[in-house]
């Protein structure tokens, strides 16, 4: 790990301003992704601003319905919140399907959204990777691509976004609330928060330099059956090969998003309306224009079958 200086933030705006003004400065929350990558020198910050003490660890009701989830709410606390369990079951289910109990106790709402890909070549500093080292190439294309993306990818990067929580947030139409270094705030719809790689796979979100997440808002409950189905190589403590988040009403209509297949939580709004027509039509719509590789083409079949299982569960 490279040496760095450390300070505790005194306010969100101060932290944002400092990250913008100090070269090499980064926020640190739970640290479970950043420190992992710093040990491998994939991330090399020279100054860390600890945002844990800012009191952004509360979940508050929004007037008119919905919840405002502080950026520093731990994954465990979000999953265990009585309101979330009752009205946003898909979020609880996605959270407890991710990582381990120890990690969820540290991982934060903001950090989870911003965790970086698990592409094996991103982690191997000896291999070319456009995301880690822009312009160096992509070892995954033509390499071992089984865990990687099948849609939304580019000829520069085929990595997936590894978060489970983000897939549930996408199906719930959450918005990411931020503060910028000049003190202005904005709300970014989750649909626009993560960006597609194109020719700049090192750019992963709509956040500007120094912009800090202060909370994530979920609108008033959608009702319906909440399901998060994650398929992985072992029953627990593994990233998704494919995951399906869905909220489905009694009439069979609802919303669906996929994890494990794309550089961001994958939702195509037109597919929602097709839910009553069954998994084949839904999957065809979600995967229109997909560019699978030999190693990961199975994800298309697997996703369709997982959608079928989810639809069956919603009916049961």
């Amino acid at each position: 790990m490279r040496p760095f200086t450390y300070e505790r933030a005194t306010s969100a705006q101060d932290a944002a301003a400092k990250v913008a003004a100090t070269p090499g400065a980064r926020f640190i929350a739970g640290g479970t992704n950043l420190l992992d990558l710093m040990k491998l020198e994939i991330e090399t910050p020279t100054h860390l601003i600890d945002v844990n003490g800012l009191g952004m660890d509360k979940i508050e009701a929004i007037d008119g319905g919905g919840l405002r989830i502080g950026a520093l709410v731990r994954n465990t606390d979000l999953a265990a919140d009585a309101r979330v369990r009752k009205d946003y079951g898909v979020l609880t289910r996605a959270l407890v399907a991710g990582a381990s109990g120890q990690l969820r106790n540290k991982a934060t709402t903001a950090g989870n959204l911003l965790q970086r890909t698990r592409c094996p070549y991103f982690y191997d500093v000896n291999m070319p990777c456009n995301k880690r080292k822009p312009g160096s190439g992509c070892a995954a294309i033509g390499g071992f691509s089984r865990p990687l993306g099948v849609i939304g990818t580019s000829d520069a990067c085929i990595a997936t976004h590894p978060s489970d929580m983000a897939v549930a947030m996408r199906v719930l139409d959450a918005s990411v609330e931020t503060i910028r270094p000049d003190g202005t705030t904005r709300a970014i719809p989750i649909a626009d928060f993560h960006t597609l790689p194109g020719q700049t796979p090192h750019v992963e979100t709509a956040l500007e330099k120094g912009e800090m997440i202060i909370s994530v808002a979920v609108p008033k409950p959608k009702g319906g059956t909440h399901i998060y189905r994650k398929v992985r190589d072992r029953a627990s403590y593994a990233f998704a090969l494919v995951s399906v988040a869905a909220v489905i009403g009694k009439d069979g209509k609802g919303a669906v998003a996929l994890g494990g297949v794309a550089p961001k939580p994958w939702r195509v709004e037109e597919a929602d309306a097709l839910l009553p027509k069954g998994s084949k039509v839904v999957a065809d719509c979600l995967f229109a224009g997909a560019t699978p590789r030999e190693d990961n083409a199975f994800k298309l079949t697997l996703a369709q079958r997982t959608i079928a299982a989810v639809l069956a569960e919603a009916k049961a």
Partner: protein, 212 residues
């Protein structure tokens, strides 16, 4: 250790080889890093922790993880380093009542925190019920993952009692039941190379007072 090795412990052997490595380092490329360290000292910071009930103040290189602080600075070597990347659970300790991976957190981020390690749970003559149950059920072979397993197991029972849901909870709107299925799922962050899992599950079931 067998008698033939006399009084030399495994730790002494490790110390000797570490010295050997340091000498070799001064002749090889290692001396570059040493020279750099001498010219510009890496940033340090102070942190006060309460470790197993004892107030402890440390002056640390900011890069020091809680795990390295415990093992290398406080000399509490019960907590183990397996992967150093959050993947194995060997480093699990309890901070302010919650289990975490001590390898993926910086010591300086824990100002004022209460840390409980395996040494703080019980002592050889006064074992914590979970430690005693692990002994009774052979919840280990080599023992390397055991301190992490035990810290995790103690916290898991608390998590179920506190109503934290899990991946195997059928209805997340209700409290999770105290079952071995729940315990097994919640222990998935602790890997055991020796495969002592079923015995660990038995030990936990005994402490929880349920049928294994």
């Amino acid at each position: 250790m067998t008698e033939g090795y006399g009084a030399i412990s495994r730790r002494d052997v490790l110390k000797t080889s570490a010295t050997g490595a340091a000498i070799a380092g001064s002749l090889g490329p290692g001396n570059v890093a040493m020279a750099q360290a001498q010219t510009a000292a890496p940033p340090h910071a102070a942190v006060s922790l309460k470790i197993n009930g004892k107030a402890t103040r440390l002056e640390l290189d900011t890069r020091t993880t809680l795990l390295d602080a415990l093992r290398e600075h406080v000399k509490l070597t019960g907590t183990k380093k397996g992967c150093d990347h959050g993947q194995c659970g060997a480093c699990t300790v309890i901070v302010n009542g919650r289990r975490i991976n001590s390898c993926l957190t910086l010591a300086v981020m824990h100002e004022g925190d209460e840390v409980t390690t395996i040494e703080g749970l019980g002592s050889p003559d006064n074992l914590h019920p979970m430690q005693a149950a692990f002994v009774e059920h052979d919840g280990y072979q080599c023992g390397y993952c055991t301190p992490g397993q035990i810290c995790s197991a103690v916290a898991v029972l608390e998590e179920i009692r506190a109503g934290v849901p899990s991946h195997v909870t059928a209805d997340v709107s209700k409290p999770s039941p105290m079952t071995t299925t729940e315990m097994r799922e919640r222990m998935s962050g602790n890997i055991c190379r020796c495969g002592a899992y079923s015995n660990i599950a038995e030990a936990m079931a005994q402490v929880a007072g349920v049928k294994a």
